[in-house]
Amino acid sequence: MNLTRRQFIRNVSVAGGALTLGFQLTGCSEEPLLLGSETDFRPNAFLRIDTDGTVTLQIPKAEMGQGIVTGMVTLVAEELELDPAAIRYEMAPVHGAFADPEMRLQITGGSASIRVYYDILRQVGASARETLIVAAMNQTGLARDALQARDGSVISRRDGAVRIAYGELVPVARTLPAVTGVMLKPASEQRLVGHYEQRVDAEAKSNGTAQFGIDVAPEGCLTAVLLRCPWFDGAVESFDAAAASEMPGVEAVFATEHGVAVVADGYWPARQAAAKVDVRFTPPAEGLRDSGAIARAMAAALDGDDFASVRDEPGSGPEDGTLVEARYEVPFLAHAPMEPLNATCRLTASGCEVWVGTQAPDVARDAASRVLGVPREAVVIHNQFLGGGFGRRAAADNVAEVVAIARELKRPVKLVWSREDDIRHDWYRPAMAGQIQARVGAGGEVSHWRHRIVGPSINQQVLPKLAGSMLPQWVPAGATALAGKLAAGKDFASVEGAKELPYNFAGINVEYHNLPVPVPLGYWRSVGHSHTAFVVESFVDELAHRAGLCPLAFRRRYLAEDAPARRVLDAVAEAANWGKAPPGRFQGLAVHASFHSVVAEVVEISLEDGKPRLEHVYCAVDCGQVINPDIVRDQMIGGIVFALSAALYGEITLKDGAVEQGNYHDYPVLRQNEVPAMTVVLIDSDAPPTGVGEPGTPPAAPALANAIFAATGVRQRRLPLQLS
């Protein structure tokens, strides 16, 4: 082995100052990762170059359509002086080196991937490049200044007479300590960052060869479906599998801690047999088991006075302004990614292998290890392309289920959820209720903003599960549950976007009441912002109309001169020709900051038989330095489509503890014939990059609701929009 453990650690520690290179050796026990062959040049955990010049990058984040593979390849290629398309990529295995530097978990979320890896991955490329150049110096006797890297070779700067391909330099480069702390290119010299437009996974995703979790089939793999309890707190009480076991192709029918598994030689025979299983579940506990009861409990909490303060700035405004007050409600939402959940498991001598498209490989690994009662290191996760994530695939319930099935079956098995399983057993965006009041003076001055939010804490449920995979395995589950409970009182996931209200009103008060419900909750594209933006930006619109001001002028009045929100508002207003909509068109406006970015949107509608028809959505985004402009535009448009689907149609309701919807007919999403035209403006910026996967989502619903008010005079205070 050429890169010794000591050398590896030295490289790590050299890089441990300003430039971390992404190494977090999360425990002394964790061996450094050495993928590929011993003859490869492996300057760090992310990159290897073999002697034929093949460059392979480990992707530490999940590719779920947000374009992270293209983004990461672009960053490395920029400094490594390569065509991005020439870089091979692999989904990284679970290892501390690939943990998100902020979250300390190998997890994809919070629109964080490019923001946290922007410097790290450019350093990965730069470090490899400089080390290869040192190898070329050794080989040619030329000085550093006489050499440069271009298109996968080190060449002599003056005449190009010397040209050595990276692969030829590998035997020398791999014996050298990696050069670290390299000065990165200034923006003026970047040829890919801000310009590179080709998605590197487009080919595989256009010819059917892209491999998603559901496409994996290890030798001898059977297919399982699972009959789950329709309500969330039930377990299998008894079942009769006699008829099912007789069905053709059926291999086994048995209960696990998650339900009744039906295993067959394909999905169809398994599903057919599952319909013949007679299963009884333990009855549900008493509690909030209907959507109506939950809504009433939330309204009652809003009427009460039991709130935790999350922001309290006393106001100095007049007490005699008109008191404006309104209540808003949003429903539970499912993610409904196009690829139904699935996972494949094969037991090994010490543990198991799992193939799955997951946003959180080490959460998946932890879940699998707990089911088998083996150390985490005995579980290997093979991450795949994700057929949509949106937060749903940060959970590992599908992994725990398939490992439990494999544990009993003792043969390789793939668990495939139906669409009905997906809609009825999601980790839902919680239903929430909010009330805002404020005073508006005669001159339109706003004071005494008080925003009260009621709803279940996502983090009370999710944090203990995440913490379980972050902490050593000996930490008892009770300790992580306590951590979740402590986090719940002022749950940032419930108040984000409301707490950071950007307007300088005189006096701002934001409060939260946690109302636990017996429904699994999770992160849904933009999380808390998905509802707080709707409530805040709708109510701001109400205030603007009350003050008799144009919604744009009103917002600008309460934003600082240099506020990023003002810049995107002005940009979107210009793009949309705000205030001068064509005859029969009506516009609504919203602006919202999330995940370190800020986005303003104008939704333009017409009325058809009194009903709104989406015509055009304009969007302006400030997300710092753009890496791949086309991907940023796609993420804005995708985030808007996602939000409009929810605003128009999205609603999960509960009856007797079970979800009433089941497929795309009763949980509809926007279709090709419904999408409006879209225009996206990217604000020029040389600030470090910020989030793009989620920030496009929050402003769309309030902008649409505000457009409907402009068109009809009817204020929409509930999602999905009430359009009779």
């Binding site: 374009g67 999905y267 995708g638």
Partner: protein, 158 residues
């Protein structure tokens, strides 16, 4: 036994003839480019061609394809003008629905070589995309439609 033509070759399967074509393709024939999305013909992810027409394979029993010609995304070969347009326009995001989108688009172009935007919006309404690639799908189809319009002789299908 059900015999049919698959991507130009003869195949026969000895499985329950009520098995939806989707699962025969994926589980019995190993062609995983065709995707499962809803199982009810609501999302279009499973779209393939049956004698040239777009069908939802999740809801089509194998028995219904006996003696007919089935084409899947694998059968388009990768160099189909739509597939080139998909890459050139960066259509896919997560990519899961795109096999179905392309198969629906290919059937549309076979029936109407020069569709306009309204034709496309209507013909593609059965293919859901949660990532929101709808505009790119439109644009990619229009780019190929334009080629078909200006050079109808190439495929001889005008």
């Amino acid at each position: 036994m059900v015999a049919f033509t698959l991507n130009g070759g003869d195949v026969s399967l000895e499985i329950d003839p009520q098995t939806p074509l989707l699962w025969a393709l994926r589980d019995n024939l190993g062609l995983t480019g065709t995707k499962f999305g809803c199982g009810m013909g609501l999302c279009g992810a499973c779209t393939v061609h049956l004698d040239g027409a777009a069908v939802r394979s999740c809801s089509l029993p194998l028995a219904a394809v006996a003696g007919k010609a089935v084409t899947t995304i694998e059968g388009l070969g990768g160099e189909h003008p739509l597939q080139r347009a998909w890459v050139e326009h960066n259509v896919p995001q997560c990519g899961y629905c795109q096999s179905g989108q392309i198969m629906s688009a290919a059937a549309l172009l076979a029936a109407n070589p020069a569709p306009d935007e309204a034709n496309i919006r209507q013909a593609m309404a059965g293919n859901l995309c949660r990532c929101g690639t709808y505009h790119k799908v439109q644009r990619a189809i229009l780019s190929v439609a334009a080629v078909a319009h200006w050079e109808p002789a190439v495929e001889g299908e005008a």
